[in-house]
Chain length 235, copies 2
């Protein structure tokens, strides 16, 4: 018979609803990922507070939190901006992403439950469908879920948080690169490699495929930056 203690352990903690600051942070993150802010755009405390109808305190907290994480850029005058990517920055982030995401993928291969793997496979199939339908906004979201379901299977929270930072840092450009990027069916082929290697629990191959995936995004970013940078280059 179940004792009182067993019953207690079956209960789930009441989810305290997030603080305002956390809600603001979440909204800002989503906006960045969705590319709703233009790179270089200035975000003032008051504009955010006004738009989300909160006071300055939680707006400021969320803004500075993301800035300290590197997702937003804090300039010396104290104002916060949506960062613009440079070539150097893309190169740096790409290198960091490769080592972090390879590590997460390898660990996930070891630790993922069969259910988790099945879930990832399902996400990938869904993703292929959306790709055929050219539904890019769903594609961005599914791609995020696909990768982070994999990475979370590593059971390494800090690692996942760091990877998320990296993704957010390039987030505002995803919208810019996507229409063309998605044309390259290489990305889809490569996702298949990830899934297959994961099913075989082959760490080396998963890591290799993840690396390819990251490099594809990096290439897309570089060419999109070059395109937008060129016109202004002329004196």
């Amino acid at each position: 018979m179940a004792t009182m203690t067993d019953a207690l352990e079956s209960l789930t903690p009441i989810g305290r609803s997030d603080t305002l600051a956390q809600k603001v942070r979440t909204q800002l993150k989503e906006a960045v990922m969705a590319g709703r802010f233009a790179p270089g755009e200035k975000l003032t405390i008051r504009s955010i507070a006004g738009a989300l109808e909160v006071s300055l305190t939680p707006a400021r907290e969320a803004l500075y939190n993301l800035a300290s994480e590197g997702v937003l850029e804090l300039r010396p005058n104290g104002s916060v901006y949506v960062p613009e990517l440079t070539m150097d920055r893309i190169a740096e982030l790409t290198k960091i992403r490769i080592v972090l995401e390879s590590l997460a993928a390898r660990e996930a291969v070891t630790r993922a439950s069969n259910d988790e793997i099945a879930n990832i496979v399902a996400l990938n199939e869904n993703l292929i469908q959306r790709h055929e339908q050219q539904d890019y906004s769903a594609l961005i979201s599914l791609n995020w879920q696909f990768h982070f379901t994999l990475y979370r299977a590593s059971r390494m929270e800090t690692l996942v948080r760091m990877i998320e930072s990296c993704w957010l840092m390039t987030g505002s450009y995803l919208n810019v690169i996507y229409p063309q990027f998605a044309e390259v069916s290489e990305g889809i082929t490569n996702h298949q490699q990830i899934v297959r290697a994961l099913e075989r629990r082959d760490g080396d191959r998963v890591a290799a495929a993840i690396t390819t995936d990251i490099n594809l995004v990096s290439d897309a970013l570089i060419s999109s930056i070059k395109q937008t940078a060129k016109p202004e280059q002329d004196g």
Copy 2:
């Protein structure tokens, strides 16, 4: 004769002094690194504000900033604590550190100027002296400088910031492990390897030596955690 403009160019920009929140953050970081907070200690906004004689706003900002970075722990009730390390956490941080610091070291090998290398060599010699003198607090500081001078030579700001986060997460335990840890002369021998490989600009060897260094710290942490955990285990 010097023109007015020449005189102007000789001036250096006024360094805007940090905001209060940044100063609080710096002090908290230093306190964590120096092990002045006990692992598990609760840090309230008001206690920090009171101790540093600032209002709640900058104290709160600094505290939450470090919490969002993972240096301090934010519990669901909103209070901030100095994190306690578990075996899993040490294992995770060690794996992350190895990939990040190896990457930084490899890049540094490519990019470091001769001056920077000379500086690192000098720091290491200083460090050896302090080791002989058993001046552990200087040792901790010099070890930090040694590693981060190397990593900063990578010219990868985001990477360095992430590595710093990792160091801070184990910071409060450095004091605990040091007296014994420093006894192991293996650490010193290994530092020599780092320096030698760096001078030869041999990326693979630098990365390997850095990895060894990280594993030594990890081993020391594990055995120190085991020691302190055992006594309380009895019911």
